[in-house]
Point group: C2
Chain length 228, copies 2
């Protein structure tokens, strides 16, 4: 599904340079449920943004669904993302003028789904993330963990092939976090969805069948954990 | 330091009403290191905003440093906050146009501290949160956990009597989170600072000597844990 080779990403800060990714290698098979762990500032969000075709690397190769992304223009990348990916951002990036259910509905609108399909999918997801009572609340009238769950629902509503989640349980209590993890697993089982999840949360990492460890812009080892 | 009695807080949403706090009681002694735990949406941020004099309740009494806050006007509340409190917001609320060190310096500027004092305090704090290399980065050029640490440093720089922290370790790996928790404990020991910390993080709660449990807008029980 996703293959990353020798990816390098730097940020220029005038006279200094931040090397966010040094030599990142990654290979995800369909249905993988992978955790990306690592210290604050080690490059996880940077890596996820490149995997999600939201940012480009300075060096290295990236393939998505067997196709190299290097040659693609912005419109093609946008289409590829829209058709195949769901993204949970570390700071959610919900649309402030839309309600919770409108935010969740948005990817379906972009995809051109009919109104009946949209209503059903949104109703289903908002129930699954436990926010039925808050469907009409806008983000500024939601708690931190409620916003995070709207972001999760939005990432899943399209039933995408690849879900990239940047610390999706950071603001959730253990019970709610567990429900979200199980929701993602259910989607993985039902649809063969692939998950790449940056997380500091041990409960989340423990439920992943692969754990990729990041340090100073490199993925140092993959611990294969058999999920029983 | 802080006394809250029978606090009620509701939000009107046109035809419906959200009862965020029902009957909240709280009593903090100087030097307390208290965790506020509870499910997503249970009212923690709402409670913290009222404790921090950033929001007012619909009903009930609140005393800060022995003084009822009900009669105070906005200017008096702002002064009380500025002189005595440090706040870590769940979504950080850093000033986007200021660098990390300028953000940390800000409460000292408001307090009218001289430039030498400000420089020393900021240098100390930025070192303690492990961000010396990123002092000149603005928030949009920082990782999620780095922004969170700037928010923590800003809350501590004034050496306030009361620190109110809303999920201050949510985006931190275990090692960095432990350093932040120990930093707060050190301040508590050295200055007698009181801490009220909303947290979903078991590592954080385990290091608190009081654990207040919140559910549906009420604080149901306080578990006194002896810290050895
Ligand atoms: N401005 C608002 N208008 C309407 N409802 C609100 C508003 N702010 C918060 N709420 C609601 O009040 C309840 C409590 O919110 P609060 O932010 O205090 O929860 P919390 O315990 O901090 O949750 P989390 O752990 O997810 O951060 C939530 O159900 C939320 O939807
Ligand atoms: N736009 C940018 N310009 C300059 N430096 C940046 C930029 N974005 C990120 N960085 C730096 O690159 C490094 C990696 O950032 P990244 O956000 O990928 O870390 P992370 O592993 O996601 O951290 P966290 O766990 O705290 O979210 C950090 O040191 C950060 O300061
Ligand atoms: Mg990140
Ligand atoms: Mg909250």
């Amino acid at each position: 599904v996703l293959k990353m080779e020798n990816i390098r990403k730097t940020y220029d800060m005038g006279d200094t340079q931040v090397i966010a990714l040094k030599q990142a290698y990654l290979c995800l098979e369909a249905g993988d449920f992978a955790a990306l762990k690592g210290p604050s500032g080690s490059g996880k969000s940077t890596l996820l943004n490149i995997c999600g075709l939201l940012d480009s690397a300075n060096d290295g190769e990236l393939e998505f669904l067997g196709q190299p992304v290097a040659g693609l223009n912005n419109r093609q990348l946008t289409l590829l993302r829209r058709e195949n990916m769901g993204f949970v951002f570390q700071s959610y990036h919900l649309l402030p003028v839309l309600s919770a259910s409108e935010n969740i509905e948005y990817p379906l609108l972009l995809k051109g789904e009919d109104v009946k399909t949209r209503q059903n999918r949104v109703a289903e997801l908002i129930e699954q993330v436990g926010l039925s009572r808050f469907a009409h609340h806008r983000p500024d009238h939601l708690s931190g963990g409620q916003r995070q769950r709207v972001a999760i629902a939005r990432a899943l509503v399209n039933q995408p092939r690849l879900v990239i989640a940047d610390e999706p349980t950071a603001n959730l209590d253990t019970e709610t976090a567990t429900q979200m993890i199980e929701l993602m697993h259910a989607l993985g089982k039902a649809q063969g969805t692939t998950f790449l999840i940056a997380t500091h949360d041990e409960r989340m990492a423990a439920r992943c069948d692969r754990v990729l460890n990041m340090r100073d812009g490199e993925i140092h080892e993959t611990t294969e954990i058999a999920v029983h």
